[in-house]
């Protein structure tokens, strides 16, 4: 950030305390940061969205229809992956999906035009890690509560040859334990990569334009067109990553609920 026009693509992920810098719990600082602010905004937006769909009319209006479409989407996702037992996870998966979806999308809002920096808190693995550990903990709790120690049979898939019994459970155990990391890292990396890419391209636009009309034509304008396309792609990724997080959580819950 030394000379004008250079852009630090990582600056957008910087966490800055807004207030409460001296708040602590058991010695840990819990300042209310820009990240917390956008979590609050996402929470508020989601609450308003769902509350607007609670008119409970027999013939739904547009808003109610939209909310019912989302709950119906999660409901059918769980019905398809878990079966009739999946109904009780609708509140959790719905919260997870909508919270991540709104977080991803609000990070792409063009609020920079009015000088506001929309912070994407799903680009921090501290946040995605908490959500992944929550999902993984629910899987463990449900699995052991429902199947007791029989839950360990998850690590011996059907049709495992006897002579491979020393190897398969180890592989299965590792793949099982990797799940929370893959959940958390997938979302964090996907969100961060898109934002970094957009930031790098925007620095191309700015720097090439500063270098004169020729470089603006050769580098700046193609980069700008690419940014438009990638912004559209990022909206898609925002939806897909929220969906993948919800889908994988429901698949893991299926293991816990039905073994296999």
């Amino acid at each position: 950030m030394a000379d004008q026009g250079s852009v630090d693509p990582m600056a957008q992920f910087k966490i800055e305390p807004i207030f409460g810098s001296d708040w602590t719990i058991a010695g840990h600082n819990i300042a209310f940061t820009n990240s917390s602010l956008w979590m609050a905004i996402a929470t508020l937006a989601l609450t308003i969205f769902v509350a607007g769909g609670m008119k409970r009319q027999l013939v739904p209006g547009r808003w109610q229809m939209a909310v019912e479409t989302m709950t119906g989407f999660i409901d059918s996702l769980l019905a398809a992956n878990i079966g009739p037992n999946g109904k009780k996870y609708v509140p959790y998966i719905f919260s997870l999906f909508m919270f991540i979806l709104i977080a991803n999308i609000q990070g792409l809002l063009p609020l920079g035009l009015v000088g506001v920096h929309p912070f994407t808190f799903t680009s921090h693995f501290t946040v995605t890690g908490v959500l992944a550990i929550l999902s993984f903990s629910i899987v463990l709790i449900v699995g052991f509560a429902k199947h007791k120690l029989h839950f360990f049979s998850l690590f011996v898939p059907h049709g495992t040859p006897i002579w491979l019994l020393w190897l398969i459970p180890i592989i299965e155990l590792i793949s099982f334990l990797v799940r929370p990391f893959s959940l958390a890292l997938r979302l964090f990396v996907a969100m961060m990569a898109g934002h970094v890419l957009l930031e790098v391209l925007s620095s191309f636009v700015i720097n090439s334009t500063n270098s004169g009309v020729l470089w603006m034509g050769v580098v700046g304008i193609p980069s700008f067109l690419l940014m438009i396309a990638i912004s559209a792609l990022e909206l898609l990724v925002a939806g897909i990553q929220a969906y993948v997080f919800a889908l994988l959580t429901s698949l893991y819950l299926n293991d816990a609920e039905n073994l296999h």
Binding site: I25, T33, S35, T43, R56, P91, T126, V130
Partner: protein, 163 residues
Amino acid sequence: MPQISQLADTYASQIFWVLIFFGFVFFIVGRGMVPKVMETVAARDGQIAADLAFAEAARRAADGAESSWQATAAQQRADAHALIAKAKHDAAAASEARLHAAASVIDARIAEADARIAAAAAAAMAEIETVATEAAGDIAQRLAGISVGADAARSAVKEVLHG
């Protein structure tokens, strides 16, 4: 990379606030509102299914009523046809009987008239015999000057008239 360079300073705040806000989302929105939304959907689906079932039942009832009405109509039509046929048959029988009666009256009158004609013919024949007898007696007297007895003249006339 702030995610790592700021990790030590911010992880507690990040974890704390995401738990607060996601907890709020889960308990207030997920547990509080979503079930009500889904209840509404389920109630609507139930109502639609009930309405469809009711409409189906009503359609069946209408079909049943129509077929029973058709059976009644067919029955009534058949009754009417039978009634008409019976009336026609009765009327035909009655007119035949009356024709029969009239015919027998006419036959009787014809027979009576025939008898009268026969009687009149016989009477006329007798008259002719008498006249012929007298004429024969007269003719015989005038031409041959023979006085023929009435009986002889009658038998002669009879012989001529009846061969």
